[in-house]
Symmetry: C2
């Protein structure tokens, strides 16, 4: 009942997606992705592409979704590390940087399309980043007992710092990435201290 036919279709759909991913590189971004080349790498005729996607844009949005999914899986991984002890900041930043290193093409896609030229793409990526931020806010409120507003301010700043560092990490080699990771950890801790100081102001007499 799985449908040997639908099964095959899903398979070549994946072939297309993976072909597109492969063609994403440092020199060759989504914008300059060609239907024909993607189809060629997937091993189907150019026209058969339309059996799976209406547009290249539709393919691209699927890529973003895949990326967002991977990103959220990363977050869960990170939370696992927290559960079994250790600095939340360090483990979060480290796993994030590992994601950038291991899934470079996906991260680059997210990064580029965040300020890219398709509104649909920008919104899709922003949605993923917002997820990211929202979960951080929840953590700060639930576990660290920050007032919501301050938690939002802080989470937003942290996400900006971490994503910015991720962008710089893309081009970096392992050593440089290590340095960036430590730098980022220190910066996030700095933000946390600042948020804490502000919180103390709110209720000066402990």
């Amino acid at each position: 009942m799985t449908g040997i036919r639908a099964q095959q279709k899903e398979k070549t759909r994946r072939l297309l997606i993976e072909a597109a991913m492969n063609q994403l590189s440092a020199e060759h971004g989504y914008a300059s992705l060609s239907l024909r080349e993607v189809a060629r790498e997937a091993g189907i005729a150019p026209t058969s592409f339309y059996r799976h996607f209406q547009n290249m844009e539709e393919l691209g949005l699927s890529l973003v979704d895949e990326g967002g999914l991977a990103l959220r899986q990363l977050l869960r991984q990170s939370r696992l590390q927290i559960a079994r002890g250790g600095s939340i900041i360090r483990s979060s930043v480290t796993t994030f940087m590992a994601f950038v290193a291991n899934q470079t093409p996906i991260f680059r896609l997210l990064l580029q399309e965040k300020s890219g030229n398709s509104r649909a793409f920008r919104l899709a990526v922003q949605r993923e980043v917002d997820h990211f931020t929202a979960e951080l806010v929840d953590y700060l409120v639930a576990e660290q007992h920050y007032p919501r507003e301050l938690a939002e301010l802080q989470a937003d700043a942290i996400v900006r710092i971490v994503f910015g560092a991720g962008a710089d990490a893309i081009d970096a080699d392992a050593t440089e990435r290590q340095r960036l990771t430590e730098l980022t950890i220190a910066q996030v801790r700095m933000v946390a201290r600042g948020a804490d100081a502000i919180r103390q102001l709110g209720r000066p007499t402990k």
Copy 2:
């Protein structure tokens, strides 16, 4: 001796640059910029383009330079506001956001090519951002007497936050941009507080 000929050449060179700027929009980025369309808008034949630039890439790098120049002019403006009193943070963030609002295509170009697909572009933009950071470090060391290392950490974090906010401001309307500006100011102040707290740790007994 100005050279009526060289003068004319410089003029159409500017025409080309401005034509390229005009074609940069939310939907149509540098990557999909066409030599022929640019030439058309500049009012010259496609082939004449090569009298001024060897590549589209060379044109693009000129655009980045123009953008960086404008950004540095903005910084000087901002520093003037500081000289005649007022919060340095507020005036810096405000003028930065004004830049994003008024010179949107240029800022978008910088933002996109920062993580774009041409290494030359990435380096060019990074160079501009580094200028930005370096001047902030100098300020923090000279005026606020932070130790250099802490100043660098702080400046880098601030630049990341501000640029991230700028990226979000691109799509925003005036009201939303105002909100973003206030948010960013608060975040930068938060970072400053954090840096201050860390500095106090370094020399606990005042």
